[in-house]
Amino acid sequence: MFRRLPETAAQPVTVVIDGRPVRVPFDLTAAAAVLIGDGITRTTPVSGSPRAPYCMMGVCFDCLMEIDGVPNTQACMVPVAEGMRINRQVGARKVRS
């Protein structure tokens, strides 16, 4: 859905989005990294409909994802890091035993 402005090169890092390695500039948030693709961050617990980030400033919670194993993380608030695992959150997050 989004692309980087050409004259703004930055060091890339590799993140793993839903198991697929992707090279992105280091200065992105996890939500921004997902938005370079199809943007879908989660499906809702109520109807299962897909969602993408809406506000990008921490208020809408539509970018809740599982990041490095932690569910319900606001992807727009987390800067990417080398090797970060970013997974779409399907429905309500699972309670771990």
């Binding site: 859905m1 989004f2 692309r3 980087r4 402005l5 004259e7 703004t8 930055a10 500039p25 200065d27 992105l28 948030t29 921004a32 938005l35 370079i36 199809d38 943007g39 879908i40 809702t44 109520v46 109807s47 409909s49 897909p50 969602r51 993408a52 980030p53 809406y54 506000c55 990008m56 400033m57 921490g58 208020v59 809408c60 919670f61 539509d62 809740l64 319900n72 608030m77 800067p79």
Partner: protein, 461 residues
């Protein structure tokens, strides 16, 4: 647990100006901010953009660039800054609880300044929950913080200064929107406020310059658009609207919505400080004295979180709150406070002069404030529709938003009403033929941001 004379929550214009002033007056000042870099949404990532991306820095415009001076003052002031720190509660003893990179923590504040700024007003139109629909502010944040621009056919829809600014910034970045759709604006009602608006520093010229730049681009700029709706299977594919007596349709990849700003109130509301309904801005705001004191002792509120007034007025409010906090801590006398306050009070008045015109001109249309299409999702988290809220407000005699929560779970999802609160208030008010003030707002309780049981267990209290 650490301590500070003044804890400032939020590092936007109000918070930064307050922190710089307070530290300058000798107060031990701690800023807690959610974002990785200071600046708030308006000056998002400004230091890094200025240093690394000169072309991006210049296309964002001079109002963005002006933030560097404030950032410089803040950095030199000695105020401490903790980034990526999310405050979830302020308790009765003014302990401030937050989580950050190292886990959960708290800080004892002698005085607290809430500078949590604004959020974009919800734009509940059919299809606004589809992937491929975002707020204009979100696109601007992606541009500032990540140098990302929309890829594909983009339509901007709604009204307000930010809609025009984002359109112009995208154009400068080489992105040509497929259309800019403006919902009806109140030209005639706003006209009587024009003289004061014209006297406010820079506003009229900036507005006219944006309109000229947009028109000169040749991008279709359709004004007076109604019945906005987004449709698509699993993502936004088309936007439909009424314009000049006909239903229109436009294929899209991305729709950017905007309908003005509203104060981000959750932290203030969680303190039970007194709030009032602001009819001209069509939102609730805390009742504040000229220094920013709310009804809870030792707590100050500055910037757009106290009512939408813009970045320049927010800086003044921040400085004024810092003076008042320093005075109430005995650091400066009342006489000194009043003397130092004069230029800030004057400057704030000059900027506030722009509000009546802007608030009237860009008052959101009734069909957006209280959506008439019954299937429109109002609460995005719990997927509660406008039709359901209207029906319960009348048939089930549901008197207000808190009862509506119990009926429908609206406002009980992770966003805690931030994206549905005003709409639910408006729908109930309209359905029951009462004022929004009478309908009221959600009762907001801490934690105002999600916190884990693990975070709570870690706390050293």
């Amino acid at each position: 647990m650490s301590a500070a004379d003044l804890v400032v929550i939020g590092a936007g214009p109000a918070g930064l100006a307050a922190a710089a002033s307070a530290a300058g007056l000798g107060l031990a000042t701690q800023v807690l901010d959610e974002q990785p870099e200071p600046g708030g949404q308006i000056f998002r990532e400004i230091e890094r953009v200025a240093a690394s991306h000169p072309a991006l820095f210049s296309l964002l415009g001079e109002d963005y660039g002006a933030g560097l001076e404030l950032l410089g003052r803040f950095r030199a002031s000695g105020a401490r800054h903790l980034p990526r720190a999310t405050v979830w509660q302020i308790d009765d003893e003014r302990r401030v609880y937050y989580r950050h990179a190292a886990g959960a923590a708290s800080i004892q504040a002698r005085q607290v300044l809430i500078a949590t700024g604004a959020l974009e007003r919800p734009v509940p139109v059919p299809g606004w929950t589809l992937p491929g629909v975002m707020s204009c502010g979100a696109a601007q944040t992606l541009l500032k913080s990540a140098a990302l621009v929309p890829d594909g056919r983009v339509v901007l829809a709604g009204s307000g200064p930010l809609l025009l600014l984002v359109a112009v910034q995208l154009l400068r970045a080489g992105i040509r929107p497929a259309a800019v759709l403006e919902t009806p604006i109140q030209r005639f009602a706003a006209l009587r406020h024009l003289p004061r608006f014209a006297a406010a520093p820079g506003y009229l010229n900036k507005g006219l310059a944006m309109l000229r730049e947009l028109r000169a681009s040749g991008v279709p700029f359709r004004r007076g658009v109604r019945g906005l709706a987004v449709s698509g299977a699993g993502r936004a594919e088309a936007v439909r609207y009424d314009w000049r007596g006909r239903r229109r349709e436009q294929d899209v990849d991305l729709v950017l919505l905007h309908q003005g700003l509203a104060p981000n109130l959750n932290l203030a509301l969680s303190l039970r400080c007194e709030h009032l309904w602001d009819e001209s801005q069509r939102c609730f705001r805390p009742r504040l004295d000229p220094w920013g004191a709310c009804s809870v002792p030792g707590v100050w509120i500055a910037g757009d979180g106290g009512g939408i007034a813009g970045a320049r007025a927010a800086e003044c409010s921040g400085a004024l709150a810092a003076l008042a906090a320093a005075c109430s801590l005995g650091r400066i006398s009342k006489h000194e406070r009043d003397a130092r306050a004069k230029p800030f009070l004057r400057e704030r008045e000059r900027h506030l002069a722009a509000r009546a015109f802007l608030d009237t001109l860009y008052r959101p249309p009734a069909e957006i404030l209280a959506p008439s299409e019954p299937r429109t999702v109002v609460c995005r988290c719990e997927e509660v529709t406008a039709g359901e809220i209207r029906r319960l407000a009348t048939e089930q005699d549901c008197p207000g938003p808190n009862q509506m929560k119990a009926f429908t779970r609206c406002g009980m999802g992770p966003c805690q009403g931030r994206l549905c609160g005003l709409t639910v208030t408006e729908l109930i008010a309209e359905s029951r033929n009462i004022s929004p003030a009478e309908a009221g707002y959600y009762r907001i309780r801490p934690p105002v941001k999600p916190v884990t049981v693990g975070d709570l267990a870690e706390l050293d209290v």
